[in-house]
Amino acid sequence: MEKIKSLADLKKIRDEKQSGLQTREKGEAGADDLVQVKVAMATCGIASGAKETMEFMIGALEKRGVDALVTQTGCMGYCYAEPTIEVTLPENEPVVFGGVDLDKADEIIEKYIKGGELVDGIIPVNYETIDNKE
């Protein structure tokens, strides 16, 4: 593989394998159909390895064919449980997971995102109690 050193090199590679590079615009299909993953990326998150988690999520979701939008967010306040991610499946409430290292991220993708099965390590944010329910 030639060394990519400039944007011209990059363009050449892209032109050579046009079908390979994904340039589909995310969000075109309608954000409601996408799985939304937010990775907390504040100082505590970064120091605990959230960058690796985020890179893993982006790569794994794309490779496994899951339509997802992975974004960063600031501190959600769960510094003791970093790395944390918030996963919102289409038509579901967001769920926050703590301690998301690469193995846990893999488990979340396979079990929760693909299977809808809840996984250990959830941080309760928005549970409704009987008092609050109308």
């Binding site: 060394k3 990519i4 050193k5 400039s6 944007l7 011209a8 090199d9 990059l10 363009k11 590679i13 892209r14 390979g20 590079l21 994904q22 340039t23 589909r24 615009e25 995310k26 990326m41 504040a42 100082t43 505590c44 970064i46 120091a47 960058k51 985020m54 890179e55 982006i58 790569g59 794309e62 490779k63 974004t71 960063q72 600031g74 501190c75 959600m76 306040g77 510094c79």
Partner: protein, 192 residues
Amino acid sequence: MKEIALHIMDVAENGVRAGAKRIEIAIRQEMENELLHITVEDDGHGMEKSELERTKDPFYTSRTTRNVGLGIPLFRQQAEMTGGKLEINSEPGKGTQLKADLHPGHPDCQPLGDLEGCWVLLVTSYPGIEWILNLSSEAGEFSISTTEIKSALEVKSISGIELSEHLKRLIRNNIDELGLYQELGGIHLFKS
């Protein structure tokens, strides 16, 4: 934080929160003075002098979810540990400029780390912002920006793992060519 690149990513995000439309990260290496000069500059809402003073305090943050703001103090600590310093200038309405000087020859200096990974992650996470990366050393200069990438590749957004991987490789190859400091204590700088 184990790498300088992570500190850079951390403070760059402050710019995002300040509503910046343009964030520039510049790293300049001067072997003669054994200096790594890092600048993170944004055009966000900036800070009043009083708030600027308070950024030095690890217990100050503009966030409401917690009571500590460690990003800047940790970066400053890293710079000072190597015998360097960290300065911030800011003007309300104009933006903020953070400048850090580190001495890579110092044994306490962390490695530069995965700078390309951090930059690409910022670029893909915050597509509404123009990101610019400038690297320079005695061996030359390299710069890249999201505007250039989008126009060269004729895309409206930068996304997808394949493109990210190519971009990272592009940046990494240039970092290597420029001979930017990589290892702990800058040991390699003194190999002759």
